[in-house]
Each structure stands twice: as C-alpha cells, then as structure tokens.
C-alpha cells in the first residue's frame, strides 16, 4: 500500500489536506480512547462517570468552547473589539480546555461537590490567566511578565487586552487571576501544591 513515509515533494494543497485530516484524526482518537473500555482501565469509575467526562471534554472543545472561541478570535482579527468579546475569546479559546482538564481529573479522582466547585474556580482563573498572558503580543515582545526578553513570534493582528490596558495592565490582571486561582484552593491541603505550582508557572514561564 502506498504511504506518506519518505515523501518530500507533496504539494501545498496535499500538505494542507493531510494537516486538516491529522487534526480530525487526533480529535476523534481522543473520544475513541475515552470510550474504549477494554483499552483503558475504567474499573475505578462507573460508565456514567466516563460518559460525563466525554461530555465535559466535548463541551469544552466544541462550538460551546474552544472552537467557538477560535471562531470569534478569527473574525475579530485586525479589529477593535469590545471587552465582552475579548472576555469570550479568552475564556473559550484555551480557557475552556484548561478548565475541562482540571474538572475531568477531579471527577476521575472522585471529588465531591465542594471540592469540584473549588477546583472549577481554580480552573477558570488559571485558564483565563494563561490565555490573556499567552495571547499578549506586547508581553511576548518585551518579556514583560517574567522580566526577560521574550522569544519573538510574528504578530497576527489579534485583538488583545493589552491594546486596552497595556502590557502592564495585562501583567496586573494575570497576577490577580493567579492569586484568585490560589485562593480557590485554600480549603485544600498540601496535596494541591502541584496545582499551586502550575498556577505560578503560567505567568512565570518564558514567552
């Protein structure tokens, strides 16, 4: 059978088609793995929990989450957008998937309602902090958030909070959000330390 291995002269159109199919394949594979009871040990939780987790991930990844955020982000390129739109992009584009990661882990671990609620608040703050810092072209250029000169990435004409409040404003907002994330974990003991570490990493990492 013919395969792609070793082919170096594929046309641009074919490369794009294969890239799109790779995305479709990986997206579908995630759901196959989650549902694939014989392949993955679900013995520690009910089938109903696994269905709930699939629903949670699909909600976060699809039109109500990441895809929706990405669409609004794309159509906002090169335009002045209002704050609610910006908030929508930030909470949906990556924020929804970060929140889902936290909630899925909590549910798999059998977290009861109060802990799930606390971890949800943590995930929301963390996701928003990550997205506004990650998207900030000014912060990437100046390395503002960690005091270092950042790796330059090409500007994409994206709308961003820094256009409204400046990179200093983004820095303040990110730190606020990371503090809120830590605050949400207050009722949890040292077993939540890795989560606290992740929250600090979000604004301390190099851009």
């Amino acid at each position: 059978m013919t395969t792609l291995a070793g082919k170096t002269h594929l046309s641009q159109g074919i490369r794009e088609a294969i890239a799109i199919l790779a995305g479709d394949g990986l997206l579908t594979e995630a759901f196959r793995l989650m549902a694939n009871r014989p392949a993955i040990d679900h013995s520690s939780c009910d089938d109903a929990v696994v269905l709930d987790l699939i629903n949670e991930v699909a909600h976060a990844a699809g039109v109500l989450g990441m895809v929706g955020g990405q669409v609004v982000d794309i159509e906002s390129e090169g335009k002045a957008v209002d704050l609610p739109t910006l908030q929508y992009i930030h909470t949906h584009k990556t924020g929804a998937m970060i929140l889902a990661s936290v909630r899925v882990g909590a549910k798999l671990g059998g977290a009861k309602k109060p802990i799930l609620k606390a971890l949800t608040r943590y995930g929301e703050s963390l996701g928003l902090a990550f997205q506004i810092a990650d998207d900030c072209p000014e912060c990437r250029r100046t390395g503002r958030l960690n005091g270092q000169t950042g790796r330059k990435r090409p500007g994409q004409g994206k709308s961003h909070l820094s256009f409204r409040v400046g990179s200093r404003g983004v820095e303040i907002r990110s730190r606020e959000l990371v503090e809120m994330a830590g605050e949400a974990l207050k009722s949890l003991g040292p077993e939540a330390d890795p989560l606290r570490e992740i929250a600090r990493f979000v604004i301390a990492r190099e851009y």
Copy 2:
C-alpha cells in the same frame, strides 16, 4: 459581541479557517450529543452500550476508518494504485461510516450476536457498493449505473476501480455487492425491508 452574521466580505483565508472550525465543531458535537445523557434519552440502554457506540463511531470516523481512507485517497491522486490500496480506500472512506451506522442502530435496538453479524455483513457490502459507485467518474459521466445521463462533476484525478475494470466492471461489482447485502439479510423478516430498499437505492440513485 461581534458575529459572522451578515458578513459578506470575509477573506479567503478566514473562510477556510471558519470551514475547518465548522468541521471540528460538528465532529465534536456528535460525540457531545452521544455522551450527553441528560439531553438524550438513553434509558432504553445501559451506559456501557452508549460507550460502546461512541467507540464504534470514533473508530469508523478516525484514523482507523474514514480519516485513514481519506488520507490514502488523497495521496493516491493522479497515480496508478494497486487493488489492495483501492480496496482500502473504498472500505474506509465512506464504507466504515455506513457500516457504523448499521451497527449502531442494531446495537441500540438490542440486536443479539447472530443478527449483529448478519447486519455487519450487510453494512460492509452496502458501504463498499456505495463507495465504488459514488467515486466512479466514468459512471457519473455516463450515468451508467442507472441508465441515465448523470450530473457532471469535475474529475479530481482520483484512483478508481473503473480505471482497472471499466464502468461496466464497476456496474457488475456494485450489483454483486448489493446482492450480497440482500443475501446477508436472508435470515431477517419483512422488518428488514427498509434495509433492502436502501441497498437497491445505492445503485439506482441518480449520479
């Protein structure tokens, strides 16, 4: 919030990005709906069955099914490919999803093993018949399979069985497969008549 509604002057790049995201959104939404117990009445079947169905659909749609078939189809464009490759494309590209539709319906209806086996053979033959007839450029051009002049579609340089056996060969093979599909249903009564009708429709429809 900004929306796409009423926008007619989107750039080609944005249109393509939105089209890809629409695909990602719909693909994800399918899994969300299947897993979304409160929204869909799953009361007639166990959670374990629903998980099995999600796995079945993901297997058929992903790299082991439709996406895999599509990749091999794309990389075979404009080339002479061997029969095993052609068979792979035909059984995976659309065939896998047709088979999954049949099997998911059967499982939801509580089909026991012998009936599921019969319906699987039906679905395999039907899927293959559909795909080789649907892909046949010669057949579309001449309306060979239904004796009518078909609607022309632009040729895409795709590999096809008709290049090896001619449109008459495709016609014979399609009819054979539809007969095999009917044969697979032999043990079932008149309640399988709609399935028999669908099998006939696959080669009788206008191209």
